[in-house]
């Protein structure tokens, strides 16, 4: 089953900063409205391939970004998907 990963941010400022930082990196991603099945402080999330999530997170943290959460969602169209929150060890 197809799935995507999502990164959420504490504020819009960090969402746009994340976009700006990642623009020069070789990862495909998209800034999208946060799916309602995910809880987030800011309305914009970054969607990426799950296999890139750890590397993207690393780059963002290296650039002093504040990140809120990480999620894996099944891509099942308009139906509400199962959400898995991903936790990283420090």
């Amino acid at each position: 089953m197809a799935e995507s990963c999502y990164i959420t941010f504490p504020t819009t400022y960090y969402a746009i900063r994340a976009e700006s930082v990642l623009k020069t990196q070789p990862y495909s991603f998209k800034m999208i409205p946060v799916p309602r099945s995910i809880s987030s402080s800011c309305g914009t999330a970054m969607r990426c391939h799950c296999e890139d999530l750890a590397a993207i997170r690393e780059i963002l943290l290296q650039n002093s970004l504040e990140l809120e959460g990480f999620y894996r969602l099944e891509e099942i169209g308009l139906r509400v998907p199962e959400v898995e929150e991903i936790h990283f060890d420090q």
Partner: protein
């Protein structure tokens, strides 16, 4: 509806010597960008999730990055946008001062500092000590050294006086305050964009700026730099587009100090003003202004009956010269300059009554001439020619 400005005609028919009030002309792109933003900016930053909202978010981000770049701020989230320098100063003063705090400020401060401090003092929140300034507008550093108390929390410094142009000895004053653990708020209304300000090197705590003077942007733009670790109490609370389920304002910067929709059209223009400054180079802008101020000062010195205020050395002043003409009302000089010569300047107290007391021109005030980056020597020749005529008339 007839636009009053269209009726009055183009400012090109005037010679503009009032850049300390608002800069004119602006770079061409500054006029165009707000219109493009309004026509194409169908999105409110931080609200909704559609692509036009993202475009608006990116615009605000670019503006923040550009301001951070100018002031050498490593983390753009520490720049918040406000209406103007007055607004930013209010956010800073009312956000950082609490019951029992003691505040130091100088005679050169503008009413945008004097009045918020006056209200906090009247309401019994703070106590204050005024640092006197010399006849040329320099703060008395010996007095400052003796003025600190155990409860002193903040020193407010006007980077350059809007009356005399006098540049405060920043480094010495900041070091003096920091030695005692006192924070510094810098009012850069007259210097942002024309004099280099490196917040990191200066270790500034708070810096208030306006967008429509030296930054060459539209009115209604400005903001505040807040040093990392300094958490101001918000003056305004409300919509941010984030954490909507909570009935308290978010604590993260920059949203912490920004409530409600920002001035996107104004910020679009501000970005262009900042781009012009970056392309031109702040050193080149300063060099031109120092030269033009020196020429103006020298020309005025040669006119009999004119008294000049502020430092003679153009390196110690922003691009302002204040003067009075013996036995003449300064308001009348301003009136004649505009009506007979098409020259625009500002006369009176310039919202800085204590500065005029320091330079002994209270309550009558001065005539303030503030050329800018676009002022030429020919403009100054025309102005000083007019003033020679007026001085002859006044001498009878």
């Amino acid at each position: 509806m007839i636009n009053d400005f269209e009726q009055a005609g183009n400012c090109n028919s005037n010679l503009y010597f009032d850049n300390a009030a608002t800069s004119w002309p602006k770079p061409e792109a500054v006029y165009k960008a707000p219109e493009i933003q309004m026509r194409q900016g169908c999105g409110n930053p931080g609200r909704s999730g559609h692509t036009r909202t993202l475009e608006a978010d990116r615009l605000v981000y670019r503006a923040r990055e550009a301001v951070a770049g100018l002031f050498r701020v490593a983390d753009p989230s520490r720049i918040i946008f406000a209406l103007n320098a007055t607004d930013a100063l209010n956010i800073a003063l009312k956000g950082c001062l609490g019951k029992g705090d003691h505040v130091l400020y100088t005679s050169m401060e503008h009413n945008s500092v004097l009045r918020p401090l006056g209200t906090l003092r009247r309401d019994g929140v703070i106590t204050t000590t005024l640092i006197p300034c010399s006849e040329t507008g320099f703060p008395d550093l010996d007095f400052l050294e003796e003025a600190y108390r155990a409860d002193t929390r903040l020193l407010v410094i006007n980077h350059a006086s809007n009356v005399t142009g006098t540049i405060a000895p920043l480094q010495k004053m900041i070091q003096s305050a920091h030695r005692r653990g006192v924070m510094v708020l810098l009012d850069a209304a007259q210097t942002a964009g024309t004099i280099e300000i490196d917040t990191g090197a200066l270790e500034l705590d708070l810096l208030a700026f306006t967008g429509h003077k030296g930054l060459l942007g539209p009115t209604g733009t400005g903001g505040l730099y807040v040093k990392k670790g300094l958490n101001l109490k918000p003056l305004r609370e409300g919509g941010t587009g984030s954490q909507s389920e909570i009935d308290l304002h978010p604590e993260s910067m920059p949203e912490r100090l920004e409530a409600g929709t920002l001035n996107n059209a104004g910020l679009a223009g501000l970005i262009e003003g900042l781009a012009f400054i970056e392309q031109t180079g702040i050193a080149a802008i300063r060099e031109h202004e120092v030269e033009i101020r020196a020429y103006l000062y020298q020309q005025l010195q040669a006119i009999s009956g004119i008294r000049l205020y502020g430092p003679a050395d153009p390196g110690s002043a922003s691009c302002i010269v204040s003067f009075t003409l013996d036995n003449t009302d300064c308001g009348e000089i301003g009136y004649i300059l505009e009506n007979n010569y098409g020259i625009l300047c500002r006369t009176g107290l310039h919202c800085a009554p204590l500065a005029h007391k320091a330079i002994h021109t209270f309550p009558t005030g001065t005539v303030r001439l503030s050329p800018g980056y676009f002022t030429t020597r020919a403009d100054i020749d025309y102005l000083t020619g007019a003033l020679r005529d007026i001085a002859k008339l006044a001498a009878g």
